[in-house]
């Protein structure tokens, strides 16, 4: 077990090193524009640009630049400075992180609970009208673009411009430590949007998995023992059927931390995605680079956690 975990950790670190190298290529070598000119902004005179180039180390060879960049990331967690505002990327990201975390974890809670509930109810009576409507509805939700769903919900329910003014609209987000109640209500619509598609996928997976589990022999045994149907389904069925959900939950949360940009843009939530979106408009590559690295870190960590959880639950995995 310990050896397996160590092997996974080493590969995780290697993965992060490779991704860092890739982002270096993507954001330093690929763009045809000159970072020093971008950094100079309106002060486009050759002397200032030369100075900036020296400050940024752009006059050194690419290999030296790469070495300094990697050293910065892995020894000092230094992600560089924004071209646009000159602020360190690390602190820009950390001030924006709470909003994104609120959005993602609240959304995850919502999609997990609704997805499981709908999946279990559907699996109890496969082929029934209830099952067919909820699975059809699930497929529609999977197919709907989330930002569009967000706009529709705002159009219908937003307190400022909606037709039925119920929930706070775009730009109403406040921090949790400020006003907890306002924080909660302002996130209701974004949570629904974030959760809709994933809840639909979870419902489909849970349904399939539970239908398969319920045909196992030990379920018949449990029934024969005279257990209540509720107990059979929840204790014996769901418990075994839930493992594919656990596998993807971590990865979905990590992936959403990276792709929250769409929902944050629609609802004007000051999170990492929004930071990224604004950075794109200024060609502020250090910020984009920093967020890509952070997102990759989330994915790698989630992957390792899932693998370890799996190895813990299923001994066969360790030997493969």
């Amino acid at each position: 077990m310990a050896r397996y975990i160590i092997r996974r950790l080493i590969w995780g670190v290697a993965l992060l090193i490779i991704v860092s190298a890739l982002t270096f290529v993507l954001f330093r070598i690929l763009p045809t524009g000159d970072p020093a000119k971008l950094r100079a902004g309106r002060l486009q005179n050759p002397k200032i640009i030369a100075e900036i180039r020296h400050d940024l180390g752009l006059d050194k060879s690419l290999l030296t630049q790469f070495w300094l960049y990697m050293k910065g990331i892995f020894l000092h967690f230094d992600l560089g400075f924004s071209y646009y505002s000159n602020a360190p990327v690390k602190s820009l990201i950390s001030t924006r992180l709470p909003a994104t975390l609120s959005l993602v974890f609240g959304g995850a809670l919502l999609w997990l609970s609704t997805g499981l509930a709908v999946g279990i109810v559907s699996a109890r009576k496969p082929g029934s009208r209830l099952d067919r409507t909820s699975m059809g509805g699930a497929l529609v939700l999977v197919s709907a673009p989330e930002y569009w769903l967000g706009l529709i919900l705002l159009y219908v329910f937003a307190a400022d411009i909606g037709q039925v003014r119920i929930f706070p609209g775009a730009g109403s987000y406040v921090g949790l430590t400020g006003e907890p109640l306002k924080w909660f209500t302002s996130l209701i619509l974004p949570w629904i949007v974030v959760a809709a598609g994933t809840a639909a996928i979870y419902a489909r997976i849970m349904r399939g998995s539970l239908i398969e589990t319920m045909s196992e022999d030990y379920i018949r045994t449990a029934r024969a023992k005279g257990l209540s149907e509720r107990r059979v389904v929840l204790r014996h069925g769901v418990r075994a059927a839930i493992s594919p959900i656990i596998t993807i939950l971590g990865l979905d949360i990590a992936a959403l931390l990276g792709s929250s940009v769409l929902v944050e843009t629609v609802f004007d939530i000051p999170g990492i995605g929004r930071l990224n979106f604004d950075a794109i408009n200024h060609s502020d590559f250090p910020i984009v680079q920093g967020t890509v690295l952070l997102a990759a870190l989330f994915v790698v960590v989630a992957n390792i956690l899932v693998d370890i959880a799996y190895a813990y639950l299923d001994p066969r995995v360790r030997y493969s």
Partner: protein, 325 residues
């Protein structure tokens, strides 16, 4: 001959497992079995019909717009906005209303089909070819080839595609990338989709090949002296066609949504080219007054993606006899 045999089947023989050809009993080929099951799946047939309709719409977009009597998608008309610059809503002449520039939304939605299908189908085709090649190599040769390729897949999968798309889109937005080889717009999006989504096909193909290469018919072919290349092309590839078609079909809607998302974020297809995502983006500032502008492109996107998802589900069920409906 076999066509005539099929015609003489009794109409109630939907469950017949054998086809009567000239008095001899012949088993149905897997393709015939598949078609028989697929034909009974009404939802998939409707989806397939709808996708065919979209393809025709994309090809003949100028003609359709002409027949419907709509202005071309690139004709701004300031007469169609009121004195505050707000566009006019749906009317007889403009069934889906107009946008801020007075361009006809229905006409733009029709032209938007082109972008979505181009990205969806072209992006999927390239990603699928790469995915199959990598998957077959990794699964067939195993060992270090498999290790290297699988690790490569890990690396690609650890970068969220939207962020990567934002980065590449922004990096290539001004003067293109790699000295102009990758042009901004559609080129960047297809490049990005290919870069990331081959992994999806490659993983599945690798798994299939790992089990296929252990089958008896591969041993038989090897015993007959077949080379590795021949085994890969003649024995393994034909067995991959069905599952690859299913997963490629399910990849199309994903790619269409990626294009729309990137265009929504402003790093994909740019105006004046009509793309559904980009239309939703430019509808965002006025969505509370001009509901039609965000609604119709969104519905077009939803229906297209849904059709591909339903078709993919149907194909999978038809190809896999074990799936219970």
């Amino acid at each position: 001959m076999s066509a005539r045999g099929a015609e003489t089947l009794p109409s109630s023989g939907g469950n017949l497992e054998f086809l009567d050809i000239g008095g001899e009993i012949a088993a149905l080929s897997p393709l015939q079995l598949f078609w028989r099951r697929f034909r009974q799946d009404r939802v998939s047939l409707v989806s397939l019909g709808f996708i065919g309709f979209l393809v025709l719409l994309a090809i003949f977009a100028p003609l359709v717009v002409d027949i419907l009597g709509l202005p071309s998608p690139y004709t701004p008309n300031s007469n169609l906005t009121d004195s505050f610059g707000s566009p006019l809503g749906p009317s007889g002449a403009h069934p889906f209303g107009v946008d801020q520039l007075g361009e006809d939304v229905m006409s733009r939605v029709i032209y938007g089909t082109r972008v979505s299908l181009e990205v969806g189908i072209l992006g999927t085709a390239i990603a699928t070819v790469i995915g199959v090649v990598v998957g077959v190599l990794a699964g067939f040769y195993r060992g270090w080839v498999d290790t290297v390729l699988s690790r490569l897949i890990d690396v690609v999968l650890s970068i969220p595609i939207l962020l990567l798309g934002l980065g590449i889109g922004a990096a290539c937005a001004v003067r293109g990338c790699v000295n102009g080889t990758i042009q901004p717009g559609l080129g960047v999006i297809i490049f990005l989709i290919t870069l990331v989504n081959w992994t999806y096909i490659a993983r599945i193909v690798r798994g299939l090949v790992l089990s296929l290469r252990e089958r008896e018919f591969v041993d038989a072919s090897r015993a007959l002296g077949a080379s590795n290349t021949r085994i890969m092309f003649r024995e393994i590839l034909p067995n991959l066609v069905a599952p690859v078609i299913v997963y490629a079909t399910l990849l199309v809607p994903i790619n269409i949504l990626i294009e729309a998302s990137l265009s929504f974020l402003g790093v994909g297809v740019r105006p004046p080219t009509a793309s559904w995502g980009q239309m939703i983006a430019s509808a965002t500032p006025i969505f509370n007054t001009a509901w039609w502008y965000m609604t119709f492109p969104g519905i077009a996107l939803l229906l297209t993606v849904l059709a591909f998802n339903l078709l993919g589900d149907g194909l999978r069920d038809a190809l896999n006899p074990r799936t219970a409906r």
